[in-house]
């Protein structure tokens, strides 16, 4: 099995869907642990997504333009005495990719992969 260029992996679909439907946080932004816990609570996975798997997927999605990111203001983090968060939000391209994936799913076409 080889991944179709531009197609979404199941984890990427789950991240986009969870971020959009559950409302990930202020201004639609979410950080890594937040989306991992929402994936678990929303039934997308039984445990918290592994660090490596989650952040590799977020990196891939960011590079593909499905997510945008920013580091929060260090003063905010310092005031709350915690490490600063990297905040992600779903881009218009991410919304379109999710809709396309859901359309494919509805028509019975298996998204994300194609035979090698």
């Amino acid at each position: 099995m080889r991944r179709k260029p531009g197609a979404l992996l199941p984890l990427e679909v789950a991240i986009l869907r969870t971020a959009l439907t559950l409302g990930a946080g202020d201004e639609g932004e979410f950080h890594g642990y937040q989306i991992a816990s929402q994936l678990r609570d929303g039934g997308e996975s039984r445990t918290l997504t592994a660090h490596g798997t989650l952040y590799k997927a977020l990196t891939r999605m960011r590079k593909a333009g499905l997510l945008s990111d920013r580091w929060e203001d260090p003063d905010t983090a310092a005031a709350e005495e915690r490490p600063r968060r990297r905040l992600y939000s779903v881009t218009a391209q991410g919304v379109a990719a999710l809709r396309a994936s859901e359309r494919d799913q509805a028509t019975g076409f298996a998204p994300g992969v194609q035979p090698a």
């Binding site: 445990t47 918290l48 592994a50 490596g52 798997t53 968060r85 990297r86």
Partner: protein, 223 residues
């Protein structure tokens, strides 16, 4: 130090290790992001042992993805690099699969690892110069049988819990006991020894310090 703090330190050390030598911005971003994640999990879920176990599981299942990410970020275009990336991608997929299915998924991954390990031992026998190849063949066969027992037990446990548990235990226990004896006991011994030596050195240092402070016998040497 509690368990989740220890796991936090271990995960941060691992992150430090696999990000070494990368572009500074990429390296620091990954390290900061993992540090933030670990902090947020402990802040949200507490410092109990269950949280430590969850953090350790997240770390372990993500190791193939960490290494694959490292290869991608370092831009390794060599044949071994591409091969390693392909193997790690399979490991990453197994990690995702296990993560989605929780403990039953992890049990099946463990069973697959046993089977794979056994198959590797047997396949490499012809090129293995070890004089005890007969013993290795038995070990390989035993690993495959153990993997099959674990997988069978994991499926059985829904309908016949006792039989399922017994099968998983029969498959997993011998290697677990072997690991306890050959890995955990020596490591624990080393930890205990180093702790004892450090404590003894502290006592010797305090005694020397006490001797120096003797001109002021009424004052405690350590407030």
């Amino acid at each position: 130090m509690n368990a989740s703090r220890s796991v936090t330190s271990a995960v941060l050390a691992w992150t430090w290790f696999y990000t070494r030598g990368l572009n500074e911005a990429v390296r620091d971003a990954r390290r900061d992001e993992i540090a933030s994640d670990l902090f947020e999990q402990r802040a949200a879920e507490g410092d109990g042992r269950a949280v430590a176990a969850s953090m350790a599981l997240r770390w372990a299942l993500g190791v193939p993805a960490d290494l694959a990410w490292r290869i991608e970020e370092s831009g390794a275009q060599t044949a071994p690099g591409r091969m390693a990336a392909a193997v790690l991608a399979r490991g990453e997929a197994a990690g995702r699969w296990a993560s989605r299915r929780g403990l039953p998924g992890l049990t099946m991954v463990l069973a697959a690892l046993y089977g794979l390990g056994g198959a590797l031992v047997i396949i490499t026998l012809p090129v293995n110069n070890n004089p005890e190849r007969g013993g290795l063949a038995v070990f390989g066969a035993w690993l495959i049988v153990a993997g099959a027992l674990i997988a069978w037990g994991a499926r059985l446990v829904a309908g016949r819990p006792w039989a399922g548990m017994l099968a998983v235990f029969a498959g997993a226990a011998p290697l677990a006991i072997l690991l306890v004896v050959t890995v955990i006991v020596p490591v624990a011994t080393l930890v205990v020894l180093s702790h004892t030596v450090a404590r003894a050195r502290r006592v010797w240092r305090d005694r020397r310090h006490g001797g120096f402070a003797a001109p002021f016998p009424d004052l405690p040497s350590h407030p």
